[in-house]
């Protein structure tokens, strides 16, 4: 039935439209992937091979480049990755736990400043962290927290965007009668939150944990201003140092290996979790 009405419609036939759509989709997919393909190829090639121009076939020097450029290179990339993992991991845990708690407070309870708080959090959602960076840095200096991970992790507790997502999710999955039932059974409020709400929120927590992790992992602006000691630096800072170092001195194979080392783990994890990530972007972001 529907096919018939389509055929009667003016304009391009459905087959041609489909062909154009596939062609464009393949084109933009290539546009997204080609950079990483070239990166992978070049990370496998030696310095000499790289000076001879580009070839689309991988070579055999990947392990060697990783060894000399990343594991025993001039910049501490392995340490940087561990630092990044630690900071991003802690941020993700704190951010999701406390954002859920904040959403729970607004969703379940009635109190005088409830309306004010929920409007306030929505209003400040747009404020970029950069505009308060100056005061933030001074504060960090006064608290003697420079070269410390605390100023990069603890602020994740107050994340308006994650709160907003959690609240949206809660409205559709957490009936107040359930909380009431737990109360009748004698469960304390805090225990109800931890043992009943958190498990119910698992899907939302997983999605937001991934997003918080990735944005903390990729964060460059604030960490670069807070961390100065080599052994405390996170990956983006080391990448920036790679850029500012004298370029001609470097073996380009090592440079590509270092970039690949900081990009490919995220790609692999993404491909494993992509089902949740791609669906998750829309779950709470735009509803209605």
């Amino acid at each position: 039935m529907e096919k018939n009405t389509n055929k009667k419609a003016k304009g391009l036939p459905i087959g041609a439209r489909r062909a154009i759509a596939y062609a464009v989709l393949i084109l933009v997919s290539l546009l997204c992937l080609i950079w990483f393909y070239i990166l992978f190829i070049n990370a496998t090639r030696s310095k000499g091979e790289l000076t001879r121009g580009f070839t689309p076939i991988p070579s055999t020097h990947l392990i060697q480049n990783l060894k000399n450029g990343v594991f025993h290179g001039t910049l501490p990339f392995v340490r940087g990755m561990l630092n990044s993992l630690f900071v991003a991991g802690c941020s993700a845990v704190l951010c999701t736990y406390f954002s859920t708690m904040t959403a729970y407070a607004i969703h379940v309870y009635n109190f005088r400043f409830k309306k004010f708080m929920s409007t306030f959090i929505l209003a400040v959602m747009m404020i970029p962290t950069q505009v308060t960076a100056l005061g933030f840095l001074q504060l960090v200096g006064k608290m003697k927290l420079e070269d410390n991970f605390i100023p990069l992790i603890v602020p994740a507790v107050a994340a308006p965007v994650t709160y907003f997502y959690m609240k949206q999710y809660m409205e559709s999955t957490l009936p107040l009668s359930l909380i009431e039932a737990a109360r009748i059974d004698g469960s304390g409020e805090f225990r109800t939150f931890n043992t009943i709400t958190l498990p119910l929120m698992k899907p939302a927590i997983a999605v937001q944990a991934i997003f918080t992790f990735v944005s903390s992992w990729n964060n460059y602006f604030i960490p670069a201003l807070v961390l100065h000691k080599d052994k405390m630096k996170t990956l983006p800072i080391l990448i920036a140092q790679l850029r500012s170092a004298d370029f001609l001195k470097f073996n380009m194979g090592h440079v590509y290996a270092a970039i690949a080392f900081s990009i490919f783990p995220v790609i692999v994890v993404y491909l494993i979790l992509s089902k949740y990530i791609v669906g998750g972007t829309t779950l709470g972001g735009v509803k209605g």
Partner: protein, 303 residues
């Protein structure tokens, strides 16, 4: 009965405050206090010139005057806007097209999950590493020049990093690649929310896909387009990682790709807290006003 019940509810409701404590405390300490002290700092002359520390002396709004009169600010604001527009225009066009295709039931595209996964991928890549990658790929002896030479498109390596528009173009290209997948998925979700009976009615009336897109999809999509535009604009004003790493913080050639946040970053590094504070406050206000203006324009035209 009723009174007893409401008393009980009130006693539970104090937990609302308790559960809000972590958020409120952390937000105040790490956001509100810094915001206030940023504003406070903007009223003082406070910088280092060589080894001597100047200030802090109270100067009122002189930092703001200085910011506007030395001319740099307008150049960097212009650079930021140019690079944002260069990236945003193709981004919104491609996203609208892809979103319309993905959500068109009569097109029945296969491998949708694969394509969505691929176009969303660059959004998660570390911007600094991506910029570093582009720097090496587009360097004079890099693979892009090598490919272009082999294909005979150019006869000598093109110096991407020393021309104003090629650097701006690369920044815009990277922003486009990193964000069009995200925008596509947002717009697609909006398109899925449109009542399918509208499409069916239009099809029965003999409308083409193009007509349906412009007459039905686009007008109904306005709120989401507005959302995408505001967030992208605010994101554009924060543009930092990509141009910073691509140009090693210089914004070269001749500071033509220096953005506002790169400028702020410079002040923060040199500990020029007076000017840095004024710039921060200014950015805070611009962010607020811009989102208001865009919001107003869109609601007016829809009425």
């Amino acid at each position: 009965m009723d009174k007893a019940k409401s008393k009980k509810v009130v006693s539970y409701n104090k937990w609302g405050y308790i559960f809000l404590i972590p958020f409120v405390v952390v937000y105040c300490v790490f956001q509100l206090v810094p915001l206030a002290s940023t504003f406070y700092n903007s009223l003082f002359e406070n910088y280092r010139s060589g080894l001597t520390q100047v200030g802090p002396n109270f100067v009122g709004f002189q930092n703001y005057v200085k910011l506007f009169t030395n001319g740099d600010l307008l150049i960097y604001a212009k650079n930021t806007m140019i690079m944002w527009i260069l990236g945003f225009v193709p981004q919104i066009l491609v996203s609208l097209l892809l979103g319309a295709w993905f959500s068109d039931p009569s097109l029945r595209l296969k491998y949708q999950r694969f394509f969505k996964t691929v176009i969303y991928l660059p959004n998660l890549i570390m911007a600094s590493a991506f910029a570093m990658l582009f720097f090496t790929l587009f360097s004079e002896s890099g693979p892009i020049n090598s490919i272009l030479l082999n294909l005979g498109i150019i006869s000598a390596p093109y110096k991407f990093m020393s021309h104003v528009w090629s650097v701006r173009g690369l920044v815009a290209l990277m922003n486009f690649i990193m964000w069009f997948g995200n925008t596509t998925i947002l717009l697609m979700a909006g398109m899925m929310g449109i009542d399918p009976s509208l499409y069916e009615a239009a099809q029965v009336d003999g409308a083409t896909a193009t007509q349906i897109f412009f007459q039905i999809t686009l007008p109904l999509l306005r709120p989401i387009l507005l959302y995408v535009m505001i967030t992208s604009l605010i994101g554009g004003l924060q543009m930092f990682d990509v141009p910073q790493i691509l140009t090693n913080g210089t914004g070269d050639p001749v500071r033509s790709s220096m953005t506002l946040i790169m400028y702020l970053n410079k002040h923060l590094y040199s500990k020029n807290y007076g000017l840095g504070g004024a710039l921060s406050v200014l950015l805070f206000i611009i962010t607020g006003i811009l989102s208001l203006i865009v919001f107003r324009i869109n609601t007016r035209t829809s009425k």
